[in-house]
């Protein structure tokens, strides 16, 4: 068994809340996000998600739970053989929706994140910032109940970071709880929001 990354954390993510998760590199931000996304299980302790204990949820129900959670991976995880448009539309496609029902929504969102002119471009051709925006758009497209974003502004310039932050805040105003893992202090200073600071396996929360 590896070293214990997180211990004795107690916190909740209220509905419609907005918070930053911060801390030094290696503090366990990504691990915590993965725990919240059901892609890791804690070695001990209890995580309740949507009022259910995730340790006892059958595997078959994970997809349905994941559909209520949007995640922006630090490494984007875009599929290289699909265009920006197809990558963003992927969550809707796997839910069995017909393309005609979501095409305008996807194009509108791509326009908002500044990728309106890059819809037919494959990820290998996109810049780091464009990939990040495509990954964010993919996480947002099905309007999740909670959005987990791992360093979502790490590869974009300050104006685009501000624009993406506005997008997250707008999404939050529409009812989505948002958790942004970042160590970008300037980004956090732009918004009065709850701060969850991870350090040496402990979590301090500043409301």
């Amino acid at each position: 068994m590896g070293p214990e990354i997180l211990r004795d954390l107690t916190f909740d993510i209220p509905r419609k809340s907005f918070q930053f998760l911060t801390g030094p590199s290696g503090a366990g931000k990504t691990t915590l996000l993965k725990l919240l996304f059901l892609s890791l299980q804690p070695t001990r302790g209890l995580i309740r998600m949507f009022d259910r204990n995730i340790s006892v949820i059958p595997r078959e129900e994970f997809p349905m739970l994941r559909r209520r959670v949007g995640i922006v991976f630090q490494d984007f995880r875009l599929l290289d053989h699909l265009t920006t448009y197809e990558n963003v539309a992927l969550p809707l496609r796997v839910r069995g929706k017909d393309e005609s029902t979501y095409r305008s929504d996807v194009l509108e969102l791509l326009g908002w994140v500044g990728l309106g002119e890059r819809i037919n471009v494959l990820p290998p051709v996109l810049s780091g910032g464009e990939k990040q925006r495509a990954a964010i758009a993919r996480a947002l497209i099905d309007r999740p109940e909670i959005l987990l974003a791992d360093e979502p502004t790490g590869n974009v310039d300050p104006p685009m970071a501000r624009r993406l932050l506005n997008l997250f805040m707008e999404l939050n105003r529409l009812g989505t709880a948002v958790v942004i893992a970042t160590h970008d202090l300037s980004l956090m200073d732009q918004v009065e929001a709850r701060r969850m600071i991870l350090s040496q396996g402990r979590l301090d929360i500043y409301e």
């Binding site: 875009l78 929706k97 393309e99 194009l107």
Partner: protein
């Protein structure tokens, strides 16, 4: 967000802009890329293996058919041999022997090998222009028997010897027994080869499919993480691998069928030529019959099913492993920043 009206989205793009962009969207690509290097390699492997399996199946069925035909041809007849004797009226003895043999149940026809035919039989050793009256050459009566209901050879032998002491009944049993043994051995070896080739084909197809899938693990992961159900992911990969395997197995099977059809065509065109006669004597006819072609079709279906099921199993297992990372604390340390 899919069903959300656009007025709920922050600062939506003007509708005409969206429409203009919508016109430029390319036709939606399949979730699993339709062609890539490993997919093409898998198709080639499947084509080669199905070709080899079909060839083996055809060859084995041909050998079995030939062995059976040897056996059946030789066991369809018995021979009565009458040795010459001064006191014996050979023509009468031949006729008597034929008539006596035909009185037994299970005989269907009797044919006396006349002097000309006997001379032709001996021609390779004694040369042309042979006068049989001058030589003490035994004469033959060929009796055709019902293979399914053969006569009682012992009783026939006894009756013939009593009526014509110079007569000797050869029921070809020694030859038939040897041929039966050889046919069985040939069929057994053929079946063994077939089993080996099939096993190699099954294992190659399974490992090649798994190898190709391992290159697509990231697709499985992404689909899983964006909320796809395992059955959806599996069906996407199944469709993809079914196409690959049908193309590969189809190409290999059709090539093998074409080979047999071409060989059969050549043999029918070259009928009665020395080359064809020698090939026929050695290998029998190259035709594999409708059962052979049915076998080739069955191999193609088996390969398609095998590939598809392997793809499904491997995808389900991959998803299971992804979820296992979640419950295996020893592996969590590979996934943190």
């Amino acid at each position: 967000m899919s069903e959300a009206p656009s007025n709920k989205r922050p600062a939506p793009a003007p509708p005409d802009q969206a429409r203009k962009a919508a016109m430029r969207v390319r036709p939606t690509a399949p979730i699993v890329p339709s062609t890539n290097v490993s997919g093409n390699a898998l198709m080639l492997v499947i084509a080669i293996m199905s070709f080899l399996a079909c060839l083996t199946l055809g060859a084995v069925s041909m050998v079995r058919a030939t062995a059976e035909s040897w056996q059946s041809q030789i066991s369809r007849e018995i021979t009565v041999q009458i040795k010459p004797d001064d006191k014996l009226d050979m023509d009468k003895a031949l006729a008597d022997a034929r008539d006596l043999a035909l009185t037994f149940d299970g005989t269907t026809a009797g044919n006396i090998v006349d002097k000309e035919a006997t001379a032709r039989l001996l021609e390779p050793w004694l040369g042309e222009g042979l006068d049989l009256d001058e030589l003490p050459v035994p004469r033959l009566v060929i009796i055709t028997i019902d293979e399914q209901n053969p006569p009682d050879f012992a009783a026939m032998r006894k009756a013939l010897t009593e009526a014509i002491p110079q007569a000797y009944l050869d029921d070809h049993r020694t030859w038939v027994d040897r041929l039966v043994a050889m046919a069985h051995t040939t069929a057994l070896i053929g079946t063994g080869v077939l089993v080996l080739v099939f096993s190699a084909m099954v294992l190659t197809v399974i490992f090649a499919t798994r190898g190709t899938l391992s290159g697509n693990r990231h697709i499985v992961e992404v689909l899983h993480f964006v909320g796809a159900e395992a059955s959806f992911v599996a069906s996407e990969f199944q469709k993809h691998f079914l196409k690959i395997s049908l193309k590969g197995a189809g190409a290999g099977g059709l090539l093998a069928a074409t080979c047999f059809a071409a060989a059969s065509f050549w043999q029918s065109r070259a009928l009665a030529t020395p080359q064809s006669d020698q090939a026929t004597a050695l290998f029998g006819t190259f035709a594999i019959g409708w059962m052979g072609y049915l076998g080739i079709a069955a191999i193609m279906i088996v390969i398609a099913l095998l590939t598809t099921l392997t793809a499904r199993y491997t995808v389900m297992r991959t998803i299971y492993e992804i979820d296992l990372i979640r419950s295996d604390p020893a592996r969590t340390d590979t996934h943190q920043n």
